[in-house]
């Protein structure tokens, strides 16, 4: 099953790279990719320089970024759902993405953290994401046991605060160009993908996915709660914080690279759970791959749905994601046996 999904992802990436203003045959696309990766020409199929540039320099980074983003967001969704023991959690809803975008805004507009090196924007965004996830966890623990309502409300509140501060920074920075950049970027887009930035993001996402996959046993225990976990030999406290840091790192870099894209972390794990069950040993890799495939195709749709222009992916995903979210909330109270109120 995992191999099948890897195959589907590979095919999706290739296919998505053939589409665009100029249609390029799959064989040429494949040759260009192989040439870009290895410097060799397969099947003596020499592609022309412009075709190579279009595929390798323009389209492929974009498609790969879409895949990495989908992978990162769905896996972080799975992790956050395990941390808060609630299937309604995801980086966007819990305000973690807003924290990341505040961090990135501050870094871009005010140059905060410029001393952290080349990928400082991603790091500051991760810092913002981490602060918000910690804040949500603390807030929802105030006054008794955390429940889904408290979590969603704390997420919403912190998200609003982060949004306000971001707007404040943008408004008073008095920088028209910066303002435009931020606005477009908040809508979510893969258009500015470049290999240089992509390598860091992809590495972090891939390492994160592998790390979390190796933690499947503890993630399963998390869903049973702290008490049961202790009687099964694991104290979850430390792990929760570690997972929060790693997922904040992933969300930070993904938001920095692709902007705000919501609901992926909510819908993908949910759909995968319906098909493959709750066991994280399967749920985690399947969600990662399904999320990647989903965003590759969504991005392709965004590029081709309107003539001569493209729809920002964040807008598109929110348009289909929000109704799904409402559907899940309604379904929760209507039985289904999958999720109950605490």
């Amino acid at each position: 099953m995992t191999f099948l999904l890897v195959g589907v992802l590979f095919f999706s990436i290739l296919f998505a790279a053939t589409k665009g203003a100029a249609e390029i045959p799959v064989t040429d696309t494949f040759s260009a990719v192989v040439y870009g990766l290895t410097g060799k020409t397969p099947f003596h199929n020499q592609v022309s320089a412009p075709v190579f540039d279009i595929i390798w320099m323009l389209r492929l980074p974009r498609v790969v970024l879409a895949a990495a983003t989908g992978m990162g967001l769905s896996v972080c969704g799975v992790i956050m759902q395990a941390i808060v023991k609630n299937p309604l959690a995801d980086p966007y809803i819990l305000g973690v993405s807003s924290g990341a975008s505040l961090g990135a805004t501050a870094a871009i507009m005010l140059g905060i953290g410029a001393s952290l090196g080349e990928s400082f924007v991603g790091l500051v965004a991760s810092g913002g994401a981490f602060m918000v996830s910690l804040g949500v966890l603390i807030l929802s623990n105030c006054g008794g046991r955390p429940n889904s309502i408290k979590l969603l409300l704390s997420g919403m509140a912190l998200s609003a605060v982060c949004g306000a501060i971001s707007s404040f920074i943008v408004y008073f920075a008095n920088n028209i160009e910066g303002m435009q950049t931020i606005t477009y970027w908040l809508m979510g887009s893969f258009a500015n993908a470049k290999w240089e930035n992509l390598i860091v993001t992809c590495t972090i996402v891939l390492l994160g996915v592998i790390f979390f996959w190796s933690q499947y046993r503890i993630l399963n225990l998390m869903l049973l709660g702290d008490e049961t976990a202790i009687t099964l030999g694991t104290d979850l406290n430390l792990y929760r914080q570690l997972y929060l840091i790693v997922s904040a790192l992933i969300v930070g870099f993904v938001v920095y690279a692709a902007g705000m894209i919501g609901f992926v972390g909510l819908i993908i794990p949910h759909v995968v759970r319906m098909m493959a069950g709750t066991d994280h040993k399967r749920l985690l890799p399947f969600s990662a791959l399904a999320g990647a495939v989903f965003l590759v195709w969504s991005d392709l749709l965004c590029r081709s749905i309107l003539p001569r222009t493209e729809l920002p992916i964040g807008i598109f995903i929110s348009l289909i994601g929000a109704p799904c979210f409402i559907y899940l909330m309604v379904k929760r109270s209507g039985g289904f046996g999958r999720a109950h109120e605490n």
Partner: protein, 258 residues
């Protein structure tokens, strides 16, 4: 296998929930904890299975203080069946039972054929072998509790701790769970609120009130009408059934008027 609680005290603020409780769980015995609501039964058990840390006193496993042991170590030696097993996510029955193997696993170790066999065997012994592929949340309360018991058995521990394991179950399932547990021949420590269950299944009872042990001994020795009136503030008479088992018949208020 011997569990010894020595001077266990638990305090929240000024409120004393457990006061210097001593108790001993030995080989091959079914030990019951009885007492009215709020008497500290659950708190006592939680101190033993390490979900809460006692304010004072200690729990010794074969003479070793459990406070210094890794959680994995205690999970390999005692399994817990608690009263609320409510999950927000729907696992398959087999997934849940297999989690009983986790104390025996290192970080990256995968489940082996042997683990599956142990899990299947545990499901068989609670009569749930046909439910392995079912979703946990679609099961009835009695079935869910048997699955949790199977998970405890999968831990392959030397003893089992139970906190009101038959709460909210139909009488058929109450008897079923207790019979299964009794047939295991493992040392069992169980908090029970149904006194008829306690006297018929336990070899030894500890009675708690306001966090203190007020009596301990064999059920036939300590359970008397005067004792029940004193501890639970109910009037009851003690009868004997056909097989010689004790039956506690409570006096309902409206009968007393006659």
């Amino acid at each position: 296998m011997k569990i010894e609680a020595s001077g266990l005290t638990f305090q929240v603020g000024d409120k004393i929930i457990l006061a210097k409780v001593n108790a001993l769980l030995e080989e091959g015995k079914f030990i019951g904890l009885i007492g009215p609501n709020g008497s500290g039964k659950s708190t006592f058990l939680k101190c033993i299975y390490r979900v809460i840390k006692p304010t004072m006193g200690a729990v010794y496993l074969d003479g070793k203080d459990i406070a210094g042991m890794p959680y994995k170590e205690t999970a390999k030696r005692m399994a817990v069946v608690a009263q609320h097993n409510f999950y927000n996510f729907d696992f398959k029955v087999m997934d849940i039972v297999l989690m009983g193997r986790s104390p025996h696993k290192k970080m990256l170790e995968t489940d082996t054929r042997e683990d599956y066999e142990i899990a299947a065997e545990s499901l068989r012994s609670v009569g749930m072998e046909d439910f392995a592929d079912r979703h946990f949340l679609t099961l009835s309360g009695g079935e869910q509790q048997r699955v949790i018991l199977a998970r405890a058995l999968t831990q392959k521990t030397e003893c089992i701790i139970m906190d009101e394991p038959t709460n909210h179950l139909d009488i058929k399932y109450q008897l079923q769970i207790m019979d299964i547990v009794k047939s295991l021949n493992l040392p069992i420590l169980a908090a029970l609120h149904d006194l008829n269950m306690a006297v018929n299944y336990c070899d030894y009872l500890y009675a708690l009130r306001n966090g203190e042990v007020v009596a301990c001994g064999k059920p036939s020795e300590i359970i008397t009408e005067a004792f029940l009136l004193n501890l639970f503030e109910v009037e009851a008479e003690i009868l004997h059934g056909k097989n010689g088992q004790m039956v506690i018949a409570y006096h309902a208020g409206h009968f007393k008027k006659l």
